[in-house]
């Protein structure tokens, strides 16, 4: 945020590592909370809340992937499958055992963490592209298992209908109610990630990313921390899958296929690797940009194209513009939206006396 840090002097390590770097940051956080808890749901209608809800779910998934890819430097293109593990675990528990969401949600996350840690074992020996292929194999194996084991998938259709989450006997089913449900978990995910990356574990992740041999020499147990990174990251992915399940009211592995894994990678690369804010910005950017382009095309496209051509033009141009804009943003700032935001902030920090 646009904070002036004049007059703030840090005299201890604890102060330097504090969650709020400046006293005024506390005020900003409270203002943001008021914005999202009070103002956003009051101002926006169902339609806009439905878009925000989808962004909130992607934020959880993007945060998880960023912990693994951005902070620990391990690549995974199996996160779509980890989401489906969470989704089916929660769906089975919710339908067969009738458990409420506050049990199924962590259970889905834990199961995904377990599976993720197993899929992450090759990371102890291989890196980079090789690890990417190993996790791709994980994605395909998990998809195959869900498709072929009716005990997990609930039948040929491989989809399990899940009742809406309910709190104190009240079913949350409108977009407004689901907004609070999703916001709650997205906030926990953000705060947990912020705290994780400044803890011992987070520092160990960064050390492994920057130079794994050096990290081992200074006493970081690489075996343990790589698996922890995979487990935490998959936990996030699993929770993301559970949130999708409750949001749509159905667990269906066809919505967590390879394309989803790639899309989440795109989110964190555009947002900025190794940054919590970057994950949030990336998730919002990738989810909202196609909508923004479509809105623009719908309003100005009529000037150039006939009515019956519009549908084709809008959807094709949307892909072209989306791709082009991603390239533009990455060329403009390879370190992602997070860096772009920091540049803007640095500019205003000394404005108007920029010398």
């Amino acid at each position: 945020m646009f904070h002036r840090e004049t007059g703030v002097f840090k005299t201890s390590y604890a102060a330097d590592m504090a969650l709020y770097p400046l006293p005024i940051a506390r005020g900003t956080v409270i203002a943001l909370l008021v914005l999202f808890v009070v103002i956003v749901p009051a101002v926006f209608g169902e339609y806009y809340l439905s878009i925000i809800n989808l962004v909130l779910i992607s934020i959880v998934g993007a945060l998880g992937l960023n912990i693994l890819v951005g902070y620990t430097g391990q690549i995974s293109i199996g996160h779509g499958a980890f989401m489906s593990v969470g989704a089916y675990t929660a769906a089975n528990l919710a339908v067969r055992a009738g458990l409420p969401f506050w049990i199924t949600l962590p259970a889905g996350g834990l199961m995904a963490a377990l599976v993720g840690a197993v899929v992450g074992i090759p990371s102890l020996r291989i890196k980079g592209l090789y690890l990417a292929i190993a996790t791709l194999a994980g994605q395909l194996i998990i998809e195959w298992i869900i498709n072929h084991v009716p005990w997990i998938s609930g039948g040929t259709q491989a989809s399990i209908q899940v009742p809406r989450p309910s709190l104190f006997g009240h079913e949350m089913k409108t977009q407004g109610e689901l907004y609070f449900f999703l916001l709650f978990f997205a906030l926990i995910a953000i705060v947990a990630a912020l705290n994780l990356v400044r803890s011992r574990i987070g520092r160990a992740f960064v050390a492994i990313r920057d130079q794994d041999i050096a990290a081992e020499i200074i006493g970081i147990d690489i075996f343990r921390y790589k698996l922890i990174a995979f487990a935490i990251s998959s936990f996030y992915a699993g929770v993301c899958g559970v949130l999708y399940t409750y949001y749509f009211g159905i667990a269906n592995y066809e919505q967590f296929q390879l394309g989803v894994s790639i899309e989440y990678l795109a989110m964190i690369i555009i947002g900025g690797l190794g940054s919590v804010l970057g994950s949030i910005l990336g998730a919002a950017f990738v989810s909202l940009l196609p909508l923004a382009i479509r809105t623009v095309m719908e309003s100005v496209g009529g000037l150039f194209f006939a009515a019956n051509e519009m549908a084709t033009v809008v959807s094709s141009m949307r892909l072209v513009i989306f791709g082009a804009l991603i390239i533009v943003f990455l060329v403009m700032e390879p370190e992602g939206l997070n860096r772009l935001w920091r540049n803007i902030r640095n500019y205003f920090r000394v404005w108007p006396f920029s010398y």
Binding site: T156, G249, E254, A311
Partner: protein, 414 residues
């Protein structure tokens, strides 16, 4: 500080155009809105780019003739790229604009919107998508497959094989070549039941996605199992590959019947043309070809505007399905307006209207459907069209097959 400036400019442009977009949305009196999801850029675009124009053109035709009972229809189409989150966004957008009824696109998308549509009390139609159990109107009151489901298609394929093999299947061998995903596996339960009932031997051959490599399966079919009849259920590029491979291994295509997504002119063309695919049988839930009055009317409508007929008519299998799909919506709307005695219908009226759709034929293009509150499939009607002499030729008229078996399974699925 170049970065900062260009970022602000980009943000300003985005914000400005979004405001424009809000203003462009306006509603008229005496107009109803249909929401239509489509996939023109995703993995199933080979279907969407023909089916959705069919849908749109039929609605334009209805509007050019004065609309339905004095109401004009506006179609809002949104491309969901065969992804699930955009499908939810599209639904909420339609709802915000005040849609009467929603045409869904894609099996996972249909699944993901099932709960939401029921909560919002808006009818969703999913011909050829969604689950076979969705035909049960008591279980899914707002879901309307309004076309033969995979269960009905599987049963119809067996019935056709039986007819071709001299009305007796006992001791015969039938192969089932399918795309290894939930939609591909769905008819298997019906086929297994019928195998017991009719006494034929069934063997299934799974093709892993994306299904462009069928060599091993086809070799297994033609070399080892040697079935008397082969039912195929493939998607995307796989149907054309299967035609090529079976032809190459010398299996007679006249003993092959494909379910509805491997049955278009585009599949035949991609396999090497109509000469190669001579004899290939296909199941259809809408009429094929341009020899229908409604196609002539659409061509004339375009001519009156001084434009050539849309090129999508060439791929009549999908284009006509789009027309029948749209026509079902129009019939439902007609019933709904009548129920309101000319007043503006509600989404609930549309549900009741859809449940009364029957006996419209669109000059033989649409099946003799009877949608009821229990049966949202409309009877599971099928025609078989065969590749003969460079085009699709009608081999059977509309027929239903093994309804008792399908009904048993529907009851069981509850």
């Amino acid at each position: 500080m170049m970065h900062a400036k260009s970022a602000w400019t980009a943000a300003a442009i985005l914000a400005g155009t979004m405001v424009l977009g809000v203003y462009s949305a306006s509603a008229q009196e005496k107009e109803v809105l249909f929401g239509e999801q489509c996939d023109r850029t995703g993995p199933t675009q080979n279907v969407g780019i023909f089916m959705c124009p069919g849908f749109q053109d039929y609605i334009s035709l209805v509007n050019s003739k004065g609309g339905v009972e004095g109401y004009k229809i506006k179609v809002l189409e949104i491309d969901n790229e065969y992804k699930v989150p955009p499908a939810m966004e599209a639904h909420e957008r339609f709802k915000k604009e005040g849609e009467m009824i929603e045409a869904l696109y894609g099996t996972p998308q249909t699944a993901a919107l099932t709960s939401k549509l029921a909560e919002d009390k808006i009818v969703g139609t999913s011909p050829g998508f969604g689950t076979a159990a969705g035909a049960d109107g008591k279980r899914f009151p707002y879901m309307f497959p309004i076309a033969a489901t995979y269960w009905s298609q599987g049963a119809a394929a067996v019935a056709f094989a039986k007819k071709q093999l001299g009305d007796n299947l006992s001791g015969k061998k039938i192969g089932y070549l399918f795309y290894d995903n939930p939609a591909g596996k769905e008819p298997i339960v019906i086929l297994e039941d019928l195998a017991k009932k009719e006494g034929f031997e069934l063997r299934t051959f799974a093709v892993p996605p994306p299904g462009v490599e069928l060599g091993a399966q086809v070799l297994d079919i033609t070399g080892r199992f040697k079935p008397d009849f082969l039912i195929t259920h493939l998607f995307g590029r796989a149907p054309s590959v299967s035609i090529k491979e079976l032809k190459g291994k010398g299996y007679p295509l006249s003993k092959v019947i494909s379910l509805v997504w491997g049955a278009s002119e585009a599949d035949v063309r991609a396999a090497g043309g109509f000469a190669v695919a001579e004899g290939y049988n296909t199941l259809q839930f809408a009429g094929v070809g341009e020899d229908f009055p409604v196609i002539k009317e659409i061509t004339e409508m375009y001519k009156a505007q001084g434009k050539p007929a849309p090129k999508e008519i060439d791929t009549s299998v999908y284009y006509n399905r789009g027309i029948v799909w749209a026509a079902m919506h129009v019939e439902a709307l007609r019933n709904a307006i009548k129920a309101e005695k000319g007043g503006k219908p509600t989404t609930e009226d549309m549900k009741n209207g859809m449940e009364q759709v029957k006996d419209f034929s669109l000059g033989g293009m649409a099946p003799p459907m009877q949608v009821t509150p229990e049966d949202h499939e409309g009877g599971g009607w099928i025609q078989v069209w065969t590749v003969k002499g460079g085009k699709f030729v009608k081999t059977t008229d509309w027929f239903q097959a093994y309804r008792d078996v399908i009904k048993e399974h529907l009851a069981e699925a509850r």
